[in-house]
Amino acid sequence: MIDRLIRGVAPLVCVLSALLLAGCSKRPVTEVEVEQARAERWSDDVVEAFAAIPVQDRGRVKPMGTYVGFRMLAANGKRKHTIPEGTGLPTDGERLDPVRWALDVIVFPEQARHYEVFLVNDSAVLEQIGLSFEGRKRRDRYSYAQLEPGRDELERRASAARAKDSKARSRIESQILALQQALFGFDLLRAIAATSTISLGEEPSGRLVELFPEAEDGGRVSLGHALERWPTILEWVQSTERGSPEAEALLGELAGLDAGVSRVISAAPFLPAIVAPADPGAEAWSNLGDLALRMKSVTGASDHASVYDAGELEAATVFGRIQLSEGDQRAAGEAILAASESLVARASARGDYGDVPLEASYYKADYFYRALTLFLLGFLAVVISWMTSRFAKMRLIGWGAGIGGLLLVSAGVTVRCLLLDRPPVATLYETILFITAVAVLVCFVMERMTKHQVGLAVGLAIGAAGMFLASRYELHEAATQGDTMGGLVAVLNTNFWLATHVVTVTMGYSAGLLAAVLGHVWVVRRLVAGFKARGEALSSEQRASLNSLGKMIYGVICFGLLFSVVGTILGGVWANDSWGRFWGWDPKENGALMIVLYELAIVHARLGGYVKHFGIATMAVLGGAVVAFSWWHVNLLGVGLHSYGFTDGVAGVLRSYYTFVAVFVLLSLVGYMAFVRPSRKPVVA
């Protein structure tokens, strides 16, 4: 019966997939002129060395690969870019990952400026900043060079948008801000290397060249050398009388150097920190701007050693060599290897490097994207298996892909726990991963127990949907937070409560959503069966199958109720310990309570005999909206103590979901009146 029912759906899924693939079309490519283009691909050892450089950002030490990965994700909407054929670059057709892209931005900025990696979701943004491009789609990607003419207007409009409350911003204003941030991210990457060197001025004096013999050729010197030899410059200054002609001449002589140092200092608030402190008790790392800023407290050679340690200056010096390579790919590669070695050694010496390789492998493994692929593949296999009994074996592929996907999600979540040294759920992003994993696992267990093929298909669909949602939310986090593993607010820094309340209540969400999905399946199947039966009673086989699925839904609701009740009360106990009250009618607390009350109402309605399978399934569908309200919507209200999640842009998606649920339930009731009620007449023996 199930086979017959869903056999009609299978071709539709295949056709949709084909249409999706056909939608990917080629875009026009323009030839670019670059003075210094990269001649060959970056070697793997250079890429790995750069990716492994430890960076302290958003309160934790992470690999440079993670840092640049989120920069690229925020700008491009994905972590890859292919240089199209026909640009005239020696590396046409090369596929760039975030690290290779960042290397180009740092070492070959002129080339990287032409990469079309800045996603503009609506061309109205371009119109607002006075740009227009022929033959482009409304949502398209552009290069830094293409957007540069509109930069001033973009900055002006971004400032105006920033001055507004985030809720008062229009969609276009939010996108203007996002684009401005993406371009700023590009500037920031360039600045990582650019701030590692300082110009001595257009015509450096003899004694400056003598002090900095490394700058003889280009007039540039690494920041590390400048900081190292600063006491000598101070001696020059101190040997002249303030206001005297000699002092004036000296100011002119040092003007270039001074301007360079000021530029580095001004970048301090934005640069990622790459230099670990020597003091084992200190936690905050320094960026190159911070190092330059400390120079202000140096009064002479006597206190220089107390302000800087030799390792810091060496790190700044070797990093500067990347910039000083000036487009020489081999020299740049050697400088990167040296810089990575130096910075890694410094971080390792104080025990800050331990998790960096694991994190690098986490992003390299791309667990969740691969899981998405497997879930989709598995779902497709199961759909094909429904078409005809000849393809029944495809179900095994579905099982294999599903279990593989689940293992990948579980592995990804486990690695995150190891990296963050805390239980699996503390942020909204992590709730998506965890809820998906639990729902898929429950589906597979159900399938194993009932063998109705519904659990497998639903599990695979939920897995794919969950991973897709996670990828979309990661994109959101990239733009707003720059990470999905950022530091937690003080109240969340408790592994006991994260492991108990958060995990339990999240499992309750998971069950509520799973019941909703199964509810959709049940209602559709019942209505289709009723429609086909044309008022006659269903066959006993159909009834048995629907009964079994209906019981499954009720079982999942009971499972959800157990975890929601315990999780909600544990939340109250946590609140009692942290904020001094068990219950404060905070929206997040209320959301959890709503799930409990709703599921209790279903259970009691069933026990009282007021609803049977159809009622339970329909209520389960509505329950999905209740879970969505509790999970996401309460964060949008801007009330209470639980404002941990950043959820801009989620409101529209939620509204669409609520509308869908309302329409579905309404149509279900209409369908019930039309196709289900007649079947109530007694079966004629």
């Binding site: 934790r60 048995a544 499972f559 309605a605 049977k612």
Partner: protein, 414 residues
Amino acid sequence: MAKKPTTLLGRIYATLGSYWLAVALLVNLFLLTWLGTLEQVDKGIHRVQEEYFESWWVLAKAGPVRMWLPGGYITMGLFTMNLLIGGLVRIRKTRRTAGVIVAHIGIALMMVGGLIEHATSKYGRVLLFEGQSDDQFEEYAGWELVIWDASERTGVTEYLIPEEDFDDLEGDDQRRFERDELPFDLVLSRFFHNCQPRRAVGSGIPTAPVVEDYFLEALPREIEEERDFRGLYVAAVTEGGAEVVETFLWGRRPIPWTVEAGGRDWAVALRRKVHSMPFSLRLEKFTKDDHPGMTMARSFSSDVTKIFPDGTEEAVHIRMNEPLRDGGLVVYQASYGPPEGQSGEPYSVLAVSRNPSDRMPWIAVSVIALGLALAMFDRLFEFIKRERGKRDRAASSGSGKTKVADAVREEAVA
């Protein structure tokens, strides 16, 4: 089948313990929670709590529609009866219902805890700068009028009028308060939930009596209750009504109003309700520990000294999720200051609660979890057993399809 009750009392009893009442109450509580949560955006948590949950009836707002719903008192009152009658007394006592009964006991325990908390608990805070000490905490929302002999320097006795005794005074309503120990009576009128003094000159027609060129102007209630400042007009009647002096009191005014009567100076002030602690707390050091390289706190804590009346001292470290529990009080690390980006002396805000049912949620959650787990696993094992039986029968029949005979046993669909 159970007999239907024939007497009126029997029918009421049956109704109070019925499933339909349980469903209706759960749906109503769901609606109260949902609509109340949405209304918090405009009214704030405290006001919604009062209107939706600490009320008999509520005019709830559902988008553009307004509807009357039974408030928290009616709902919870009926719910308690329904739970006791339906969930504990009338329910069949079998192995299958054992888990549900245990869960119901847990819910009853939680409701008892909630009732004790509602009736007896006190919540407030104490704000301390480093080196400062205090043995009182003030409530977030409750206010009181306090009178004391300002001529006394030690052993001062305070006379209190709680807000509940005058918060209904609107317009020209007034109420007289007298006490034998006081040489004057107080006549209170014109209570303002949130207000500010305003200069009469240049303000058009004053909306309240003008006292020394100022009058109290009503302000809309703030979303955060703590930001509301009460106001009240007060007249002191001395010498048997021969002399009357009038003023207004405003919650934000730090200096009390003084009245001369019976040869002494009496101070009168409107303040947040304060409660004494059995010990004094002195803040030694407040520590905000930021995530490295960020201004976001990963923890904040207070090193305090607990000073008992007999002079003994005890050092205590209070931090998020690790409160101090002593003498029936729990002291939590709640907040700190000055706010990010503002300069000033660091201070710590400690939340204080006196809740006799503090531990009840732990007991309730354990009992409920046990009950639900019992109920759920009982059903789960039954389900697995049934499914396995069906499969075994199908396998033994040699057919891949489920036997019709098995299916007939299933319940009717929809």
